[in-house]
């Protein structure tokens, strides 16, 4: 009698379909405590640590580093050390044979029929299975080939119609061809058919046919007759490259220096982009580092590319006098030691009030149903820079919150954003967006709208400027605000009305406190 538990890909947010296991932080055999971070999973939106849902010992990693698995897929098998390896193998096999028995079922159903009770609907789910009776044979694992037990058993005298290579493979990996459905002419079984059946039954069959060759072929033939420039020939000799392996892109069909270099780079892909020393010509050194794009970078690139090219942006700019705002801030912060309000927090409150005053700007564009969604409360997304990108946590119902509440909420969201601890509902949605680059001294800029929102407001730095008041030039602390609007849902006059209202709230902060 033994308790075996499984770890599965959690569902973080509505849109999450699959997760990529980027890094296991524990090894097979390691024990862990409930709540301990055991692996990092990356979705298209976030990378987050999976916290262990129970105390246990990891016995088998099923979702290897780098593998992309759908939500609910089993990534690891856990059991305490008293459970034998054999039991674990049997358990893993029972998982695959469960799947194999109903290959026609939909994925979700197959999941549901898998082991018994789900302890809690929250993520990640835990399934417990009790094994009393040992099941039949072990699955065969051999060079990444894993044949489920019910497909095993090659039969020599089978009269089945199969391609010669399919028969060879079946014999090599002990596959019973009678159990494979052939898709070829007259139900002929091919290697592809075996692969499909094995994978459908939960086994493994690597896709060898379409793997790029790891090492390029190296010719050993005599290359003295190959036409090459003298320099190319000397370089090839030095680097032990056969001229047969080089393209001949030089003049008069000769192998040239670049062709030899290309082969060198092909043979030394990762180590270093620089060529070995002691060559006559100084080889050109690459003066950049290639940084692979992670999931977040790709999402940012994709979404902003789409936003900028699809949305007809127009821009409105206004200068606001923040002297009253600054006075009020100093006043509050000095009189209430427990609160520490920033100018940004006060802007948030002013914007929220203006959004309620001019609700035509507090909108999302529902492209699919061709309608404008106008919101009752101001859910303001705030762009926060994080190590390799940005994220927009939302201050919800900012119009209903007190300044101190906005301040603490904002600080909490920003802190968690920077450590990647936001839950999806904290950064998905929002009725309006702000981006503040004032802390870098930026005077003014135009931001790209974050769809489906209708507008985004870009806040510049607070700076003292000479302004005219009652025909007298005076010095006032000023901020330039630029709003980018989606003209499909917000017109120029509407946007202008909003900015005028915002200016009113900023310059008379009592209005939003009242």
């Amino acid at each position: 009698m033994s308790n075996i538990q499984t770890l599965e890909v959690p569902k973080w947010g509505l849109s999450m379909q699959e997760g990529k296991i980027t890094q296991w932080t524990i090894k097979e055999g390691d024990s862990f405590k409930k709540g301990q971070e055991i692996c990092v999973i990356e979705t298209t939106k976030i990378a987050n640590s999976l916290e262990a849902p129970f105390d246990g010992t990891l016995r088998r990693i099923i979702g290897k580093n780098g593998s992309v698995l759908e939500v609910g897929a089993i990534i690891g098998v856990c059991a305490d050390t008293s459970v034998s390896d054999q039991k674990i193998e049997q358990f893993i096999q029972s998982l695959s044979s469960n799947k194999g028995s109903e290959p026609q079922e939909q994925k979700t159903e197959a999941k549901a029929t898998e082991p018994q009770q789900t302890k809690s609907p929250s993520t990640p789910t835990v399934t417990t299975s009790k094994l009393d009776t040992p099941t039949s044979t072990k699955p065969i694992v051999n060079d990444n080939f894993l044949i489920p037990s019910d497909l095993q058993g090659y039969q020599e005298n089978s009269n089945l119609f199969a391609t010669p290579h399919a028969i060879n493979m079946a014999q090599k990996h002990n596959v019973n061809l009678d159990k494979i459905h052939g898709s070829g002419p007259q139900q002929r079984v091919s290697i592809n058919d075996i692969q499909k059946a094995v994978i459908a039954a939960g086994g493994q069959w690597p896709d060898v046919k379409n793997q790029p060759a790891k090492t390029p072929a190296k010719s050993t033939a005599d290359d003295s007759h190959i036409l090459a420039t003298p320099l190319a020939r000397r370089m090839a000799e030095e680097w032990n490259i056969n001229l047969n392996d080089c393209r001949a892109s030089g003049s008069r069909g000769r192998v040239c220096k670049e062709d030899v270099e290309a082969v060198y780079y092909r043979n030394h892909p990762v180590s270093s982009p620089s060529l070995p020393a002691a060559t006559q010509p100084e080889p050109t050194k690459l003066d950049f580092t290639a940084i692979p794009m992670d999931g977040m970078r790709k999402t940012i690139a994709e979404r902003l590319q789409a936003a900028k090219s699809e949305i007809p942006h127009f821009y409105l700019t206004i200068d606001v006098d923040v002297s009253a705002l600054q006075e009020l801030r100093t006043d509050i912060n000095s009189k209430l030691p427990s609160v520490k309000i920033s100018i940004n927090d006060m802007f948030l409150k002013a914007i929220a009030s203006a959004l309620i005053a001019v609700p035509e700007v507090n909108v999302q564009y529902d492209v699919e149903n061709q309608q404008i969604l106008q919101f009752d409360q101001a859910d303001i997304s705030v762009a926060v820079a994080i190590p390799n990108g940005l994220i927009t946590p939302i201050v919800k119902a900012a119009n209903k919150r007190a300044l101190s509440d906005i301040s603490t909420t904002m600080r909490d969201l920003a802190t968690r954003a920077k450590t990647g601890k936001l839950s999806p509902d904290e950064f998905q949605g929002g009725s309006f967006c702000i981006s503040n680059l004032g802390m870098f001294g930026i005077k003014q800029f135009e931001a790209i709208i974050n769809p489906p929102q209708g507008a985004i407001l870009a806040l510049g730095t607070v700076e003292k400027r000479a302004v005219v008041r009652d025909d007298v030039i005076t010095i006032r602390p000023m901020v330039t605000l630029s709003m980018s609007c989606d003209h499909r849902v917000i017109d120029g006059a509407t946007g202008a009305k909003f900015l005028a209202s915002l200016k009113e709230f900023v310059e008379n902060p009592m209005a939003f406190l009242a």
Partner: protein
């Protein structure tokens, strides 16, 4: 099972099908007798049976209703065949030389091949067009070509190019029973080869390649006469320890992509031997297939062995040089093996 010639295997397939199915008829020049034999209903002489004697004896058994001699008019032969097929018969046309398809191309590629598609499946053309292909007979440029690649490029036509007596009988039986127009290409130099052929009727499905040699180092893909040359090379190189796999697709439309790609995946080196053309031929089609779907299996560039881009020479010496020879195949194999 007994040893039979390619010629007799073809004859047996026609005979068996004519006995089995009264709608099967034979249409062609001199198919009743030939060589000047005066065959009439009153004076039944067993003539030669076509230029190659393939239809010998059919007329005496089945009579003038089902073994129909035609004038020397290819367009009439194929036009009649297509019409007969569309109206309920299963005709087998004997075009003699495939080179003559030019005269009757419209009947074949623009009519018969399109019936089923254009009439929404209400009409079909269950017909077989037999004909000789291939050089090596000193028959000169107009009687030595292998134009199967041209038929294969027409959707609606099935193209069969058998290399052995066993394949010829099984594939011809399948062709006669098939509901689509089938072009059946017989190589001149193969009629007298012999091989084991079952005495009963049997069919070989279309689109199933035959591996005449199994090996691990290099794949040769070849059709018809070239299969025999490839086998010869495979047997020779086996003595040197080079293991050659020979794949005979047998039908080029439909083509057994899987059978070809599986072999390529296992060896990674490919030589394609093709008598059809130096350009836009069967070899080029298969090379494109492999480059597209089997590229990552390749360890060396694909090598093609085809005739030069010239008409087939009449001179025997030149003709032998024109045909892909075992020597040229061997050189190509060594080239892809880099030995």
């Amino acid at each position: 099972m007994s040893k039979k010639s390619y010629r007799n295997a073809i004859k047996e397939a026609i005979e068996f099908e004519m006995r089995r199915d009264p709608t099967v008829v034979v249409i062609g020049e001199d198919v009743r007798g030939g060589h000047g034999a005066k065959n009439t209903e009153e004076n039944k002489l067993e003539g030669f049976g076509g230029v190659l004697g393939v239809t010998k004896g059919l007329w005496t058994e089945f009579g003038s209703e089902r073994v129909i001699d035609t004038p020397i008019t290819e367009s009439a032969i194929i036009g009649m065949t297509a019409g007969a097929a569309a109206t309920g018969l299963r005709p087998i046309a004997d075009l003699m030389f495939m080179d003559f398809y030019g005269v009757c191309y419209d009947m074949l590629y623009n009519q018969a091949a399109k019936f089923r598609y254009m009439f929404g499946g209400k009409a079909k053309a269950p017909m077989v067009v037999r004909g000789m292909i291939g050089a090596g007979f000193s028959a000169a440029a107009q009687h030595s070509q292998s134009p199967y690649h041209i038929f294969a490029s027409t959707p609606g036509l099935k193209v069969v190019v058998p290399s052995s007596p066993y394949d010829a009988k099984g594939l011809l039986t399948q062709s006669i029973r098939d509901d689509d127009p089938v072009v059946f290409c017989e190589h001149k130099l193969l009629y007298d080869i012999t091989g084991e052929v079952p005495d009963d009727d049997y069919t070989i499905p279309f689109g199933v390649a035959n591996y005449t040699r199994q090996g691990t180092d290099v794949t040769i893909i070849a059709l018809s006469l070239m299969v025999h040359r490839a086998n010869e090379v495979a047997d020779k190189l086996a003595n040197e320890g080079i293991s050659v796999e020979v794949v005979d697709p047998r039908t080029i439309s439909p083509l057994d992509e899987e059978g070809i790609l599986e072999s390529v995946a296992s060896t990674g080196r490919v030589v394609i031997v093709d008598e059809s053309a130096a350009r836009c031929g069967f070899a080029h089609d298969v090379a494109a297939l492999i480059a597209q779907k089997g590229f990552y299996s390749l360890k060396a560039p694909i090598e093609l062995v085809t005739p030069p881009h010239t008409p087939v020479p009449f001179s025997n010496v030149l003709e032998q040089a024109w045909l892909p020879s075992a020597e040229r195949i061997e050189i190509a194999v060594r080239k892809v093996l880099e030995v």
